[in-house]
């Protein structure tokens, strides 16, 4: 730009087109390009989060794949740290030594160096002094080398499952084309945008340039598909390196995906582990093996989340739209896609909760221009608007929840017990409810105590059976638990007790808020009240347990608590008596008291009745009452209320020498 331009002009031109000599070109963007530029939408905000999102997308794909063929999922996730030199050799780049040191961001100038050395010397001096004084010397952390921007860390993420696998020819499009997928129907799905592994591929292309590797085999396939590909972001088409059939000797079935990406394990380690743990809670029928491998053995992590049940929730069914949930565009699309010819059939078959007679009534209501037999193709845009308006205003039955697949109260409970080992747990599963024509089911669990649980409220959120970890603050579950539940009325201490709150919401459409789809808004009253109700139901169950526990504790401590106050009470009574006895002596002529009372005061005066006498008598009474109450408690509640611990007896390893003693009613077996 010309520098001699006046400042005002510069401002103007800058705001419009920075380069005026170049013509503005109308460009088109492929979906892949769009997501590459807006990767934060899909959860790839920074390297750390990208690593996390890659893991979760792969895990969720694997679960979907296994569940779709009703196979109990087995998922293995491995994250391998790759050193820079190893990474360079992988891509065939020779390590370059720095020649011109001043070129780099982390170059230390002479001045900075002097400063640092002086500081280190001072620190050493202080340490020496401390050591001389015999103080405990704190190990000063080795001065960290300043980490430059170029120091990226790379990871290979491998996810292996026992799922359905992929048809040999579809693999290319399943990975190499954004916004093409199998999960676009109206049903409860785990995925958010249908991006899944594709976004991981785009990220790997952006950060490392390395292709993705897929091995897959389906049932009854004699071979194994192997494919190495990356994506042409501009054209949104797959770019295939290798696509071949290989021998499958072990008759292995499933899929294995390998991708090398830039990431940050240090900052997202806890998030990834939390994710795995919460996933294990909500899918206790799956088995997960999580491994982190690096050159430093002390950093390695291996966690196995074992399977605890083989009851799997049913596969969610694809459902038809509910009339009150459709918009104008959707009506047009449904008309374009349907095989039905006339309006009556269209209404009757393409929507839920419209019967034939109902459809006829609706058409009658639409106006004189409409008739049941009119061809769909002949509908004018105005008429479509009319249909849409009627759908909005008319009353329809709520959709039922049959198409949904909640985790199930049993599974949720198992998951909580398996991963948290709480002292107490209560779960509740609500019935299907509706917001804006979409059915949803809320399930909740509340636990008290457990290992690795912090004091206070620990909130675990699940939407369509995947954990939500980010943006907890504004979420409907968090808000409800914090603001709308009066914990103390359920004898739960919100600050002291270790409370776990688990809420799982499933729906054909989860009303996510925010670009990252990380939380559910608090503004939908139907969901908010369902969440509140479910949590409350759990609390009601817990309350009776807690009260019973408290009663049992009270039983044990009653005598002690009562006896604690005996000295206070008898001391007070005795002191009054003593004062009275003394004044009576001084004014002995005036007899204010009756025979009994006079006698009592005389005894007090002569030390025949002392504080100890009173205490003894009161203690005896307390004992008597305690005994009676204990008896009453026992008759009311049975001998033992505590649930019995389950004990598993291992079969004996040695050869069993047994003697069976038979009687008409039982067999008594003795082991030697």
């Amino acid at each position: 730009m010309d520098s001699s331009e006046s400042p005002t002009e510069t401002k103007k031109t800058k705001s419009k087109t920075p380069r005026k000599n170049k013509e503005t070109v109308l460009k088109q963007k492929s979906p892949a390009e769009f997501f590459a530029e807006n990767k934060n939408i899909a959860g790839f905000d920074n390297p750390g989060k990208s690593l996390y999102t890659t893991v979760r997308e792969l895990v969720e794909n694997s679960l979907d794949s296994a569940e779709s063929i009703s196979e109990l999922p087995v998922v293995e996730i491995t994250i391998e740290e790759i050193k820079k030199s190893k990474f360079n050799s992988m891509i065939g780049l020779i390590d370059c030594e720095r020649v011109d040191a001043e070129l780099y961001d982390d170059y230390e100038t002479e001045k900075a160096r002097e400063k640092r050395l002086a500081k280190e010397a001072r620190a050493q001096e202080i340490q020496a002094k401390n050591a001389a004084l015999g103080k405990k010397v704190k190990e000063t952390p080795a001065s960290k080398g300043i980490r430059g921007r170029g120091e990226a860390s790379f990871y290979r993420v491998i996810c292996k499952d026992n799922g359905k696998g992929m048809p040999h020819d579809d693999i290319l499009n399943m990975f190499g084309r954004v916004l093409s997928g199998t999960k676009y129907g109206l049903k409860q799905t785990r995925g958010k945008f249908g991006l899944g592994a594709k976004m991981a591929l785009i990220w790997s292309k952006m950060s490392t340039g390395l292709p993705i590797e897929i091995s897959s085999s389906m049932r009854n396939q004699s071979y194994m598909s192997f494919c190495r590909l990356d994506i042409d972001i501009h054209k949104n088409i797959p770019h295939v390196h290798v696509h071949e059939k290989r021998e499958n000797k072990e008759r292995w079935r499933g899929a294995e995906i390998q991708v090398v990406i830039e990431g940050n394990w240090t900052t997202y380690r806890s998030k990834i582990l939390h994710y795995m743990r919460q996933m294990a809670v909500i899918t206790p029928y799956a088995q997960f093996l999580f491994k982190f491998v690096s050159d430093a053995p002390e950093k390695n992590v291996t966690i196995r989340f074992s399977r605890r049940t083989d009851v799997m929730p049913p596969v969610p069914l694809e459902t038809k739209h509910h009339p009150s949930s459709v918009d104008l565009l959707l009506i047009k699309r449904l008309i374009a896609e349907t095989s039905k010819q006339n309006l009556l059939q269209f209404l009757q078959h393409e929507f839920v909760n419209i019967s034939k007679s109902h459809a006829e009534r609706l058409i009658g209501e639409m106006g004189p221009d409409f008739s049941p037999k009119m061809a769909l193709k002949s509908l004018t845009p105005q008429q479509l608007v009319r249909i849409h308006q009627l759908f909005r205003q008319a009353k329809f039955d709520d959709p039922n929840g049959h198409c949904l697949s909640p985790a199930g109260e049993y599974n949720l409970r198992l998951g909580i017990i398996k991963e948290l080992h709480p002292d107490m747990v209560a779960t509740y599963s609500g019935s299907a409810q509706v917001f804006e024509g979409h059915p949803f089911i809320v399930e909740a669990g509340v636990s008290i105590g457990g290992k690795n649980v912090k004091q206070g409220l620990n909130i675990f959120r699940f939407a369509n059976r995947i954990p939500l970890l980010f943006e907890q603050g504004a979420d409907v579950v968090t808000r409800t638990a914090l603001k709308r539940i009066n914990w103390s009325s359920y004898k739960i201490n919100q600050l002291q007790d270790k409370i776990g709150i688990f809420v799982s919401i499933v729906s054909t459409k989860i009303p996510f808020k925010g670009t990252g789809k990380e939380y559910i808004g608090d503004d939908i009253t139907e969901i908010a009240s369902a969440v509140k109700y479910s949590i409350k139901q759990c609390c009601v169950q817990l309350k009776s347990k807690i009260v019973k526990k408290m009663q049992a504790r009270e039983q044990q401590e009653r005598k002690r608590n009562l006896s604690k106050y005996i000295p206070d009470a008898t001391g007070a009574v005795y002191n009054v008596l003593k004062d009275m006895a003394e004044t009576q002596l001084h004014a002995s002529k005036k007899f204010r008291y009756g025979d009994d009372d006079g006698e009592l005061l005389r005894k007090v005066y002569e030390n025949l009745i002392t504080k100890e006498t009173l205490s003894e008598k009161l203690a005896k009474h307390v004992e008597q009452v305690d005994y009676e109450m204990a008896l009453e408690y026992a008759t009311q509640s049975g001998v033992s209320e505590e649930p019995r611990e389950t004990i598993y007896i291992k079969p004996l390893e040695t050869e069993n020498k047994i003697i069976d003693l038979h009687s008409p009613f039982f067999v008594f077996r003795m082991f030697h």
Binding site: N561, G571, N575, I609, H621
Partner: protein
Amino acid sequence: MAESSKKRRRTNTDDLPFKNKLKPDSTILQILKDFSTSSSSSSSSSKALTLQDLSLPFSCREVSDLSLSSVQSIIESLVLRIAHSILSGNGFAFDVPSRSATNQFYVPELDRIVLKDKSSLRPFANISTVRKSAITARILQLVHQLCIKGIHVTKRDLFYTDVKLFQDQIQSDTVLDDVSCMLGCTRSSLNVVAAEKGVVVGRLIFSDNGDMIDCTKMGMGGKAIPPNIDRVGDMQSDALFILLVEKDAAYMRLAEDRFYNRFPCIIVTAKGQPDVATRLFLKKMKMELKLPVLALVDSDPYGLKILSVYGCGSKNMSYDSANLTTPDIKWLGVRPSDLDKYKIPEQCRLPMTEQDIKTGKDLLEEDFVKKNPGWVEELTLMVKTKQKAEIQALSTFGFQYLSEVYLPLKLQQKDWL
């Protein structure tokens, strides 16, 4: 007519709003004199009703002032009964009147809250009452000592005699009220008093423990109201009315401006919720001097609540409402309707919180509000506009607006409910 007031006043206050509506002080004084005589004659003509005069469908519990010796003998017979009970192996229990909200009843004929006669047993050998019965026994013993020695202590003193048992002062205070209710005497008869809280200034002369006090010569802060009313006697006054002020700040303004010299009056405040001593003192003034009582409180639900405590009694002390309540208190200001009438600017009004609105609506359900249609109207207006204002909102027009314009104008217009 405006000129005469102009002559008296400093010129810089002339431009105060509504100032020109004020009539000369002499006119206002005449209005007040008429009001004072009419109210004193009306109050003297009708003899005060008592509970016995009414035939209520249930029996009520009321306490009376008792002499030290009779309190002592009541405690002694109670303790003897307990001692016998313990020695015969039956433990012991107190029969304590219930002071819960369900046991309260507003009697419109008396215009105060009374306590019904429901009571609950407080046995020692029960986990939920053991603490309270131990504390009750201890308080009885402490009061017994006070009776023998014939001295007064404060509630705080009482608490500190056995901190380990009482744990916090609320517990000993509550049991103290229970004890006075149980023994059937006023709390003052137990020789336990609260710390001084209320203050009085103005045209009042009375004797405190034998010393004559002239409340016009007590400086700006005024005279602290003695915690035990039996010290107070020989009340004399040439005031035309008693002005009850909710807050310290407004009280200070009036005291400093010597409002009581312009319009002869007695100014009283308890700095918020009134304590027993201030209520007793007000009652005594009203009964002996036969003066009308005008109240200046905030325009919010709590202002009205404080007014109601002076007038009808608090639920906590309803057993002694006969001694503590002052009938026929007029609500002078600041009333919700004043906000518009005196054009209080928007920025000085505060929006009511959810809690405020709820309190306001609850008050509308209370009998002592319902009996006064004017109050209902004002409170309804407050809840409707959802605005509140403090007395200090009047300071927008200058710090002295309260004493220079607002109050004189209110008095002139006889604008009280």
